[in-house]
């Protein structure tokens, strides 16, 4: 296990895309400390900012307020990263495998365009969770993100595959222009959820304000949802039994696009 402890508060963004198990594995403490990072506009070494304990391994623990450290675990394919504190922008973006646990809040674009693996955020997430970068045609494409707090705007925007679960509230345009996949929000959805939905599923437990291009289909109890909810219990989320056995109102849309998407709203009756 490699433990990185932040030495002092950062004044400028630190681009630390090297903090990935794939890069650390098999390297000595000195080699890990010598890995290149960019602090503001200056080239620097990881060891300038972190105290490194333990040789490079596929299990990394980060400690300190890393709110200004960007690109942690970006592109990781294996191993485990645990952050005790906040993490900066682009956490786990484009990751393909492995597990990230954050015991704090994360910045914007966490899990953007990820293609596998799991991110579990115990605090809040910023904007663009599991989304796409500007100009990209696809956001998250496989994998799983769990946020125990709230998520910002555009969670799951242009998502292609995978599962995003937000235990708190989500901001505006959740699942906007989503191609496929599942986005589940236990708190309140912001406005214009599912705008431009192509396919895919949005699940919510509070009646959202729907766009004029969605229409009510039926009320039913989907089997796949039971499986997902039971699995989430195993992941440590507290899921009410009523959600598993209850009925959901299905709205289909967005008819300005393909119209094969659905918004499932828990029927409290």
């Amino acid at each position: 296990m490699t433990v990185l402890t932040l030495k002092s508060q950062l004044q400028a963004p630190l681009e630390a895309g090297v903090i990935v198990p794939d890069r650390f594995a098999g390297n000595s403490v000195a080699a890990v400390a010598g890995m290149p990072v960019t602090y503001g506009n200056e080239a620097a070494c990881l060891g300038d900012f972190f105290k490194v304990a333990g040789a490079g391994s596929t299990e990394i623990v980060l400690e300190g307020d890393l709110g200004r450290v960007k690109n942690i675990a970006a592109g990781m394919t294996r191993g485990k990263i645990t952050v005790h504190g906040d993490a900066g922008m682009h956490l786990g973006s484009e990751m393909r495998g492995g597990v990230i646990n954050v015991y704090g809040n994360v910045g914007d674009w966490a899990g953007s365009e990820m293609k596998g693996g799991k991110i579990h955020i115990h605090g809040n997430a910023g904007h663009g969770l599991g989304g796409a970068y500007r100009g990209s045609r696809r956001g998250m494409n496989r994998g799983m993100i769990i946020v125990e707090g709230n998520a910002g705007n555009e969670a799951g925007a242009v998502m292609r595959r995978g599962l995003i679960v937000v235990a708190g509230n989500a901001g505006d345009f959740a699942g906007a222009f989503m191609i496929a996949g599942t986005l589940m929000v236990f708190g309140k959805l912001g406005i214009r959820a599912g705008a431009g939905l192509l396919r895919g599923t949005l699940v919510t437990f509070n009646q959202p304000e729907l766009l004029p291009t969605f229409c009510y289909d039926c009320s039913y109890s989907p089997s796949f949802l039971k499986l997902i909810l039971r699995d989430l219990r195993l992941q440590g989320l507290s899921i009410s039994e009523e959600y598993i056995t209850g009925c959901y109102r299905r709205y289909s849309g967005d008819f300005n696009r393909l119209g094969k998407g659905e918004i499932l709203v828990y029927d409290q009756r």
Binding site: I191, P212, T213, N256
Partner: protein
Amino acid sequence: MQVDHVVCAFCGCVCDDISVTVEGDRITKAKNACVLGKSWFLSHGTPSDLPVARIEGKPVSLDRGIEEAARCLANARYPLIYGLSSTSCEAQRKAVALAEVLGGCIDCCTSVCHGPSGMALQGVGEPTCTLGEVKNRADLIIYWGSNPAESHPRHMARYAVTPKGMFVPDGRKGRTVVLIDVRRTPSARAADIFLQIKPGKDFEVLWALQALANGQKPDEISIENTGLTYEQLTGLADRMMHCKFGVIFVGQGLTQTRGKHFNTSAVFLLVRALNRHVKFALIPMRGHGNVTGIDNVLAWQTGYPFGVNFSLGYPRFNPGEYTVVDLLSRGEADAALVVAADPISSLPGKAARRLAEIPLVSLDTHDSETTRSARIAFTTSTAGIHAEGTVYRMDNIPIHLRKVMDSSYPSDEEVLDRLLAGVKELKAC
């Protein structure tokens, strides 16, 4: 002395038919200019008593100012260059070069006005045209979230509403003008139809119109919350689908309200849907005289129109990460260069406060809150009055600026060029 065919570089209309009268060392008349243009010519054409450079408010020589400003910027770890909407493309090019050498961020006023239009353009494409096409062809003009009577006073008379065009020989009589806004503005007097929608409901109305253009029937109950009746909505959609050539002028009522780039994406997608029925286009109502120019200059030099970062040595674009309000609000920028803008008066409080705290270098033609807060302030001449240059009109047409009179101040281009040389020397590159 009268100088004809002078270009007004105040707003995005960039009118090029102004006749300016110069008496001695000042401009006394600006014929054909609107109230905003007249004020611009007369105030910038008046001699100023500001020193060419100030450090902490004390007058210094230009050389001393350049030396101190270059040192201030070269020492920064995450410098920001901002503004650039009211200067020439030639000066903008120097600013981009400076951002690259500094390894900093460069952003322009676009990020707080029509940046969302740029993001929508990148996401869904922009079906647009020139103002010449509007004048000669458009028979349906829609202003959405903009108030041209006050913000672009000659827009209606010169390009969009009253002029007679090749295929609109009757001028005003041959056009239908629709104004859509959340309040009745002075522009409503010039419109045939005024539709008042509830604040924050633009996206829903645009989305419902797109559904109608796609042959779908939007949910009537959802429409009720928008402030429009279903009949008003279908009436507008019908008018849009049966004109000859329609244009939507998109204002900041769409780009800077909740939804931002999704609002503009909705307009772009609506126009795309309408093109299955008739010819339709849109033009963003750009505010400052050359804000379109900085988008063009940044795009041709870096590939991106605003919010560009050079900290890794190559350009990267990410609105929300490298844009001015975000960089300042998060306290990341540690020095700033502001060119031809007054962000301390116009940015949100937290961002403006941060800007006032960090070492700030400003270039402007006149005194402002920003120049007064700046550690080093340069007074420059005005492009279009004291210097030649190029600006882009709101429809991306480049127009050459004429010089009307001399000035004792250097141009923005000259100061930026010297700053660039100074920073290069300090950074040894």
